[in-house]
């Protein structure tokens, strides 16, 4: 068994056309290229392995079912394909053993294609309800040049799930991908989002993680041309005993690209654990990169845990902007003071500030009904903790 290569390597999945990026050079499609993690590895040290239900050590058996309903407006095709479809695995390597396990084991994949120049009038919605057991899945979202679309991946139900979502945003296209992890509280979900963003294209990722016993989601972005832009927004509300881990990687492997990463978490209750790892790489020889990443955590009770690690690696002197920030703490007493100084009682002031914390991000979701739905879920979860 070889360890995952950090060298560029030959492969047959179409990755060869894109400039070198960490997505193209780190990882492998073959689960056997990864040793079984023991929890001390950098990439696994925050994840409670025993709660992965065998996803990491080959013991998980694919025996689960999903109910998937797709609403595809005009200009969008949705297909279910087998392992041999050439569009699979074209956006990036699986970066860890679980994701590679999913790639090695999946039987069916869903491919969403948005036609060139299409501007569908409503979002593409994929409602995925997990109905127990273990499943490995692959999704591909290919947005052709100049198309503009919102894709909603709404995930509910229970089970053990692992897989990838491969995203191609064509030249001048705009994709907003909203991934909602609204699993039941005993579900396990390990997934990787790989986005390849072409010249002058914009990829907006909105990740909302509310449910699950353990959710580990790794959004990764690489660029294929200048003027490409990626915005990654995340919101997690981590309750009693939940583990929510988000690991973003932005690889500015091309000049004149932009990225913004903003993840916000709220944690409440015993054993709630939030992890955010934000990797940004500004590649050798690139110029004009504009990058900023930010993680905030609101710890509503004292018995919660947060690990927040921004990593910025710069291999060039020609950067337009690069920064990161991370802050975790209690409700800001100055926010409360301001509202209370206007007569608003403390309880109500707390509620306003906490809701505002969520609304600031939820407000950016470009689908009104979904905004309300998500706030209603947040309200229900808040009610459990107030």
């Amino acid at each position: 068994m070889t360890s995952p290569s950090t060298e560029p390597k030959a492969h047959s999945h179409g990755l060869g056309e894109i400039p070198f990026s960490k997505l193209a050079t780190h990882g492998s499609f073959d689960v056997n290229d990864f040793p079984v993690p023991n929890g001390r590895e950098e990439e696994w040290r925050f994840t409670p392995l025993r709660r992965l239900k065998g996803l990491h050590n080959g013991k998980a058996v694919a025996d689960g079912t999903d109910k998937v309903e797709v609403d595809a407006p005009e200009g969008v095709t949705v297909e279910t394909v087998g392992r041999d479809d050439e569009r699979l695995g074209t956006a990036g390597f699986p970066a860890d053993r679980v994701t590679a396990q999913a790639y090695s084991s999946f039987e069916q994949a869903t491919v969403v294609t948005v036609a060139q120049g299409a501007v569908p009038e409503r979002p593409v919605t994929i409602d995925r309800e997990a109905r127990g057991g273990t499943r490995f899945d692959q999704f591909v979202i290919e947005v052709k040049p100049l198309a503009e679309v919102v894709v909603v991946l709404n995930q509910t139900g229970t089970g053990v799930r692992a897989g990838s979502v491969d995203v191609h945003v064509g030249e001048g296209a705009r994709l907003t991908l909203i991934s909602l992890q609204d699993w039941d509280n005993d579900a396990v979900d390990v997934s990787q989002h790989n986005a390849q963003v072409a010249k002058d294209a914009t990829f907006k990722s909105i990740v909302i993680t509310l449910g699950g016993d353990l959710v580990r989601l790794s959004p990764k972005v690489a660029y294929k041309g200048r003027g490409a832009n990626a915005e990654l927004h995340g919101l997690y509300f981590t309750g009693d005993g939940q583990h929510h881990e988000h690991r973003s990687l932005i690889d500015h492997n091309v000049s004149n690209t932009r990225s913004r990463v903003e993840y916000k978490g709220a944690l409440s209750g015993k054993g709630a654990h939030g992890v955010w790892i934000g990797d940004v790489i500004i590649g050798e020889g690139t110029t004009g990169t504009d990058s900023y990443e930010h993680n905030r955590n609101l710890q509503l009770t004292d018995d919660t845990r947060v690990d927040s690690v921004p990593n910025l690696e710069i291999f060039t002197g020609e950067v337009e902007g690069a920064g990161h920030a991370s802050a975790s703490g209690r409700l800001d007493d100055i926010h409360l003071f301001y509202l209370r100084s206007r007569g608003i009682p403390e309880d109500e002031a707390r509620r306003l500030v906490i809701r505002g914390y969520f609304l600031e991000l939820v407000g950016r979701i470009p689908v009104e009904g979904l905004r309300e739905e998500i706030m209603a879920k947040v309200e229900r979860k808040l009610a459990e903790h107030e």
């Binding site: 007493d333 100055i334 926010h335 003071f337 301001y338 509202l339 209370r340 100084s341 206007r342 007569g343 608003i344 009682p345 403390e346 109500e348 002031a349 306003l352 500030v353 809701r355 505002g356 914390y357 969520f358 609304l359 600031e360 991000l361 407000g363």
Partner: protein, 253 residues
């Protein structure tokens, strides 16, 4: 008729975990409704501390004295109770509260202070009118509280709240600072509208005499070294304009 009295007020600023420093060293002042008292003084003399301590800011702790509204000591009240008792502080640096819309905040605030929720249509009309008076674009109502506002926009919104909440006592902490003349006029007109009818007392904290051309003081007090060093009529402001605070900086040091 309201009487607002500050008696022997001493207060510390809290620094870090357990540091503290005494800033207010025995302040006495009485403001009756209808009166405007300008508090002037050099930077660092404790003017803002006085404002924040009265409002109940968590970074300040009162160690001695009383602040009475019609004989009732508001220092025994919580921050929001003080506001509902009729004390309003227009802050020098209004706080940004992300995600809480201005309109939602104002409605909550007005509901709390008036003791009942205003009728929605009536309130929205009242709000629109008040915003128009202060030359605030109606789009601000949908934005987060002070979020991304310029300094001048924040100050206008402080006065907007003043006009909506109609307090018994308004403490204006350097509301004039950072405003250009046009904005200063707009804000001053707002203060003067709130003063109409003579039911509100005003404590106008300022470093400069400029605002006093628009909001006329009945009394001027020089604040230095954590207490009121000298008091007089409006003419004292002219003396300060001509001579500066030098004399008081030395005395207070």
């Amino acid at each position: 008729m309201t009487k607002f009295e500050i008696r022997g007020l001493r207060a510390d600023v809290l620094i870090g975990e357990d540091g503290r420093q005494e800033i207010l060293k025995g302040v006495d002042l009485t403001i009756n409704s209808g009166e405007t008292h300008a508090i002037m003084g050099p930077n660092g003399s404790g003017k803002s501390t006085l404002a924040y301590a009265i409002a109940g800011h968590p970074r300040y702790q009162i160690t001695e004295g009383e602040v009475l509204v019609d004989g009732e000591n508001i220092l025994e009240m919580s921050v929001d109770e003080r506001a509902r008792a009729g004390v309003f502080l227009a802050m020098q640096y209004p706080v940004e509260v992300p995600g809480v819309s201005m309109s939602n905040f104002l409605r909550s605030s007005v509901t709390a202070v008036r003791g009942e929720a205003p009728k929605l249509r009536q309130f929205s009309k009242e709000l629109q009118g008040a915003m128009k008076n202060l030359a605030i674009d109606s789009a601000f109502a949908a934005r987060g509280v002070n979020e991304g506002f310029s300094g001048g926009e924040k100050k206008r919104h402080e006065i907007l709240q003043l006009e909506l909440l109609k307090p018994k006592v308004a403490i204006l902490d350097e509301t004039d600072s950072g405003l250009d003349v046009d904005a200063l006029k707009i804000v001053s007109e707002g203060v003067n509208r709130a003063k109409e009818g003579g039911e509100m007392g005003v404590m106008l904290i300022t470093h400069y005499t400029r605002i006093l051309n628009y909001v006329k003081p009945d009394f001027v007090h020089v604040f230095a070294g954590g207490r009121i060093a000298e008091s007089g009529g409006a003419e004292l402001a002219d003396v300060l304009e001509a001579e500066g605070y030098e004399r008081f900086v030395k005395a207070g040091a």
